[in-house]
């Protein structure tokens, strides 16, 4: 970024700001309104049972997954991966749809209405994922992707942790509407005006510094993509399965993420920011395997600490546990924002990112939600966390074995 400032490459700098702002706002919306707000909407405002809401949310995850893959494939087929302006207009459409869906919430009544409304949210998310992720090849050069992903993660988590003092649907709806309105105005202008800066950004994907992801190797794309989807799925699954249960345990929420004490939330936000910045630096400098080892290792350690804490029946929570959790979450979020683009070219990014995000993120959410509902009635909190810990440890050991038995990746071949 400093290099861009030195060379006064203002269009490129504008591209960085646009991408970071757009992705951070999108992720903030997903973190707060979708992941936390919808459950409150269903249970408290619509009076549905927690299991019914969880089932509906799982349907949302599955539908989003299908729509994202279908739309990613459609973009690839149409060749829109190379058409920056089309992607801007589609993003504008997504933001408008999200405003409409967020605005009409109070008119939704009963479970059928909730399901129809969730289907609308799924369509907006499913279209948004491949469109927004595919803008990475237009706006962020390969060398900068770790840093950009770190800033996106840091901004989204910092805002989510410090701005949201109460995790209620009304609060999330208010914040989301304000943010989306600002976003729609900006995106609307960018989608329809003609400016030399936008023309310059639209051509950037042709530049080798943007076009070819760093993990691309001739003839190995499918295997590598599949491997990374599996690994990211495991990470999402471990995170989601553990956090869904912790979310239902007031001791661990009121003492950390939902603490009335602002300093506690600021501390966790700081851990998220620090974790994101560390991940940004490491993503650019290390191979992907050590990063995954760190992520699984930290998840295993965090859940081990939680299970120790549950066993002692302590009345107060210890901040080191959410701190480590925040660190692990930030690490993998950064990887998720950068890695799909680094496996792609402008032609393949829409489908790759859709496959990556949908199959790993949304499918893991779908399965872990279903499992958490089932376990919530059968397993004690301690046992639940122990199972998650065992899974994290298993994946960690699998990564160690993989690193030991398979050769280190070679540098890319010249194209």
């Amino acid at each position: 970024m400093l290099e861009t400032l030195k060379t006064r490459n203002w269009p490129r700098l504008f591209g960085y700001i646009l991408f970071i702002g757009m992705m951070a706002a999108g992720y903030y919306y997903n973190l707060t309104f979708v992941q936390l707000g919808l459950e409150d909407f269903g249970t408290r405002l619509l009076g549905l049972s927690p299991s019914a809401v969880a089932r509906d949310m799982a349907c949302l995850a599955l539908l989003t997954c299908l729509i994202a893959i279908a739309f990613g494939w459609w973009i690839q087929k149409q060749g829109w991966g190379r058409r920056f302006r089309v992607k801007l207009r589609l993003s504008f459409g997504v933001v408008l749809a999200q405003i409409l869906l967020t605005f009409i919430c109070p008119f939704v009544t009963g479970e059928p209405g909730f399901l129809v409304w969730l289907a609308g949210v799924s369509v907006a998310l499913g279209v948004g994922v491949p469109v927004m992720f595919s803008m990475t090849v237009d706006l962020i050069p390969v060398r900068m992707r770790g840093g950009a992903a770190a800033l996106v993660t840091a901004c989204a988590y910092f805002a989510a942790e410090t701005l949201s003092s109460e995790w209620t649907f009304e609060a999330f709806r208010r914040q989301s509407l304000l943010m989306l309105a600002g976003g729609a105005l900006g995106m609307g202008i960018l989608a329809f005006i003609h400016h030399p800066w936008l023309d310059a950004l639209a051509r950037q994907h042709e530049h080798p510094a943007f076009a070819r992801g760093r993990f691309l190797r001739a003839g190995r794309r499918d295997r590598r993509l599949l491997g990374l989807i599996l690994i990211m799925f495991s990470i999402y699954f471990v995170d989601s399965l553990g956090f869904l249960r912790l979310l239902k345990t007031p001791l661990y929420m009121t003492g950390s993420w939902q603490s009335p004490d602002f300093e506690v939330r600021l501390f966790i936000a700081g851990a998220h920011v620090l974790g994101a910045l560390v991940a940004g630096v490491l993503y650019s400098s290390l191979h992907e395997r050590p990063l995954f080892l760190w992520i699984f290792g930290i998840f295993a350690l965090t859940h081990l600490q939680y299970s120790f804490h549950i066993r002692t029946e302590a009345a107060n929570t210890v901040l080191s546990m959410p701190m480590l959790y925040a660190l692990a979450v930030s690490l993998y979020t950064v990887v998720n924002f950068a890695i799909w683009a680094d496996l792609s070219t402008p032609d393949t990014i829409s489908l790759n990112s859709a496959l990556g995000v949908a199959l790993s993120g949304w499918t893991a959410t779908f399965l872990s939600t279903a499992l958490a509902i089932a376990w919530g009635e059968r397993l004690s909190l301690e046992r639940h966390i122990q199972v998650v810990d065992s899974l994290a440890m298993l994946f960690f050991l699998a990564m160690v074995a993989l690193a030991y038995f398979s050769p280190a990746p070679k540098p890319i071949e010249a194209s």
């Binding site: 760093r214 993990f215 400098s285 290390l286 760190w294 480590l324 660190l327």
Partner: protein
Amino acid sequence: MKRFPLTFLVAFLSLFLAACGSDGLYRFTLVTEGEHILTQDLTSSLIVTDGSVTLPAGTMLDGSVHILSGSFNVDGHITGDVFFLNGDLTLGPSARIGGDLNLGSGSYHPSPDSVIVGQINTGAGIPLPDLPEKQAPTVWILLLRTLISGSLLGLVATVLIRYVPGAVGRVGEAATHHSLVSGAVGLLVGVVGISLLVTMAYTILLIPVTLLGFFLLGVAALYGWIGLGISAGRLGIRILKRPVKPSAAAFISMLVFMLMLELVSSIPLIGDLLGLSVVLIGLGAVALTRFGLRRFTPAANQNLST
């Protein structure tokens, strides 16, 4: 060299023996929360930080009691002193304290029939051991301390540069050329490593491994400092354009490095942060190069070489 792994193994395994040698050591029972009734005699000191402890009539506690918070109900016999700093202390009719009762703050409810053999000291009257007052070290003492630690590290650096110059060089190279990556890795190693070691200590059984882990973490941090110091020294020598023997250069470099570090750490507000950054960069460089066994090359440079 073949003897090294065996010696190391013996040293490592002998650490586990430490867990067996509890007899003859100072023993205590720590209560941090919950309700506890001591139904049997206890031969150890008792520390109560929170929760509730009851010593019923007919039971004996052979040791002293320290109550930092929480409540302690006594109806039995305590052979040692009782230090009551805060919380709630109740002495029942059959309570007997063999030593002194030292009262700080909190609420104290003695029965008229309870017996205290020693003295009752209240408030500031609690006798404290004669500890020397801690004063801020003067500049000269600080300088002397830094010179001593710098000299010691300098001696270690001299040995390292004599026997493993390549390894130290690689650590220094990673710390100076890739300080951001080293700092990031150092932060992860530091935060996660300390959390892991503390968690292991909770199992009691793994306390020797925890101690070994902290020792290794400390050695890694010092090794990182040495690598960083030697690299900084090489840069200085290159600027001065004077030929100096490698061992002498290593010694002088460490001395100057420690003085510079002390100077930087004394800067108000940011000094500690800068000092911590140097520690993390050194630690990260050691982790990245696996104690200097391999050269660190950023993955981006490898992948984007074409």
